[in-house]
């Protein structure tokens, strides 16, 4: 860190405190032994973590969130891989327009998407259904999957595929034995980013979730709107701790900056 002066380091320290403060506070409050919100000055307690088990709606929402994220990101990646290959490989009419369309959910405010899906699903009889949640989440996470797969697809030397063809491989074999392994890092990191975005999505989901079919962030959001107590802290702290573990694993596997800057490690 020698290249940063003391002033820069002081700024950096304040910045890091600013970033970490609310996260640390959530975790700290969750360990309170009191029945009201307070920083645990009189010893640590796990009572509020144990209390989560008495609220099956949180557990059910957590399970549904995992399923929703897994299904929607898998379907999204299934759609994104061929689309990315088409965009990266071919110059066709409407290529730019299609790319813009596939990336458009990044630009459309999630409130607007939520409203649009609420209206749409109520018209076609899908409101409050798990299927509706999956369909809407596919749309929201597809751009993330597409960007990473696209970066990986642009990165491969097409002559490697030509080599496979010249050695006798047909299109399908070439894809399975050569193309897919080459874009795999992009596919995996795209899936992971899609999963995380689906799991964390709250703004759009709050419009289309129903009390029986909802996600953990939405359940938490609705609970916080009514009252803030140590229980939401312990649920949030659990979420934060899980995310931290995932984060460290991801950083080891892909590098967080690569994941977010939209280019896969090749």
């Amino acid at each position: 860190m020698s290249r940063n002066g003391p002033l820069a380091l002081a700024f950096h320290a304040i910045f890091v405190v600013f970033i970490l403060a609310p996260i640390v506070v959530v975790c700290a409050v969750a360990f309170t032994p009191e029945s009201y919100l307070s920083l645990p000055t009189k010893g640590f307690s796990l009572r509020w973590f144990k209390a989560i088990w008495n609220y099956p709606e949180f557990l059910r929402a957590f399970r549904d969130s995992l399923w929703l994220a897994a299904l929607s990101s898998t379907i999204a990646i299934g759609l994104a891989v061929p689309a990315a290959l088409a965009i990266a490989r071919y110059r066709f009419l409407g290529r730019e327009a299609i790319t813009a369309l596939f990336l458009s959910p990044l630009m459309i405010p999630h409130v607007v998407l939520g409203i649009a899906f609420l209206r749409f699903f109520s018209q076609i009889g899908l409101s409050g259904s798990f299927l509706g949640l999956i369909l809407s989440h596919i749309i929201v996470v597809l751009p993330f999957a597409l960007r990473l797969v696209l970066a990986a697809s642009y990165g491969i030397d097409q002559r490697i595929e030509h080599a496979a063809i010249s050695l006798g491989a047909n299109s399908f074999v070439t894809f399975r034995r050569v193309t897919l392994p080459l874009i795999m890092p992009g596919v995996v990191s795209g899936w992971v980013l899609a999963f995380i975005n689906s799991f964390d999505e709250v703004t759009m989901t709050v419009f289309i979730a129903s009390p029986s079919t909802t996600t953990l962030p939405v359940r938490l959001f609705l609970y916080i709107q009514d009252n803030i107590d140590p229980l939401v802290s312990s649920v949030s702290a659990s979420l934060i701790l899980m995310t931290a573990v995932v984060m460290i694993v991801l950083d080891r596997l892909f590098g967080l900056d690569r994941l977010f800057l939209g280019s896969a490690k090749s």
């Binding site: 910045f15 403060a21 409050v29 290959l85 405010p109 409203i115 749309i139 063809i165 709050v206 995310t243």
Partner: protein, 286 residues
């Protein structure tokens, strides 16, 4: 791939295209239509063409105030994000790879944490019994307990916290494209450190700062969870207003009109500023 170059892209992108036509274009068109439908407290939604929702939203002071507040919050959040995010990105970029890795995890990692959990942290800090209020009281900086809950300042602080990682990322990306020899060249020509930064580094990362600003502004203007938790019912912004129309008042056509205004305004701002950035910096950055 030996497939027909005319048919292949269509077959490959076809499934995703169908899904997007069915699930993005159709719902948005239906919402746009909905905004022209009539609504009454007792009759509900009536499929009759009317511009009264648009008229109401565009004329009524109540809505003006909310849209104005949304814009003000988004601008402040963007400004603060630039002021603290740009130096932080520069500092991160100058660290040794080892430390940079650690602090990237700290700075960018929160993006992976649910925005509800992050905002809850601020709610805990802000309340009259929260840490910030008590700290200010203890330090004797204030006599009354400061309560930032349900204030614009509170929303701006929390939203900046949620969105500043995007700014750091965008600037960091621009910094990493920089050729460090250029900085050294400026230094060898006799420029002091700050001049190097102002005359050589800054002009090159401006596109990164601008694209980061567009992202932060767009997300701040359409933010929902954070203003809903920190601002509550008392301090509505466009997104929470639309939410209330849909799920509390049940005036869907009016909510749809608000959503459409938000959508059109944001897309105009995003596309417009991206064009501007591209045109202004096209020569410098390919």
């Amino acid at each position: 791939m030996t497939a027909n170059p005319k048919l292949a892209p269509l077959l490959l992108s076809g499934p995703a295209l169908l899904v997007f036509i069915g699930l993005v274009i159709a719902p948005l068109v239906m919402t746009a239509l909905l905004s022209f439908y009539d609504w009454g407290q007792y009759k509900g939604i009536v499929a009759e063409f009317t511009v009264k929702n648009w008229h109401e939203v565009l004329v009524d002071d109540y809505y003006y105030e909310i849209f104005g507040r949304t814009l003000r919050i988004a601008l402040f959040v963007t400004l603060i994000a630039v002021l603290i995010g740009v130096p932080e990105a520069y500092i991160l970029n100058r660290m040794t790879p080892r430390w940079r890795g650690v602090f990237l995890l700290v700075v960018i990692g929160p993006l992976l944490i649910s925005v509800v959990a992050r905002t809850l942290g601020w709610a805990l800090l802000f309340g009259s019994t929260g840490l910030i209020g008590q700290a200010l009281l203890t330090l004797g900086l204030t006599r009354e307990p400061v309560d930032l809950m349900f204030t614009e300042t509170g929303v701006i602080i929390a939203l900046t916290h949620v969105l500043v990682p995007f700014m750091v990322l965008a600037v960091l990306a621009a910094l990493q494209r920089l050729n460090s020899d250029v900085e050294n060249a400026a230094m060898s020509l006799g420029a002091p450190a700050f001049t190097v930064w102002r005359r050589v580094v800054l002009p090159q990362i401006i596109p990164g700062v601008l694209s980061g600003s567009v992202i932060v502004f767009a997300l701040a203007a359409s933010a929902f969870a954070t203003p809903a938790i920190i601002g509550g019912r008392r301090l509505k912004v466009a997104a929470t207003l639309a939410y209330d129309e849909f799920l509390n008042t049940l005036n869907w056509p009016l909510g749809a009109a608000i959503a459409m205004i938000l959508l059109v305004a944001l897309i105009a701002i995003i596309v417009g500023s991206n064009r501007l950035i591209e045109r202004r910096y096209a020569q410098v950055f390919e």
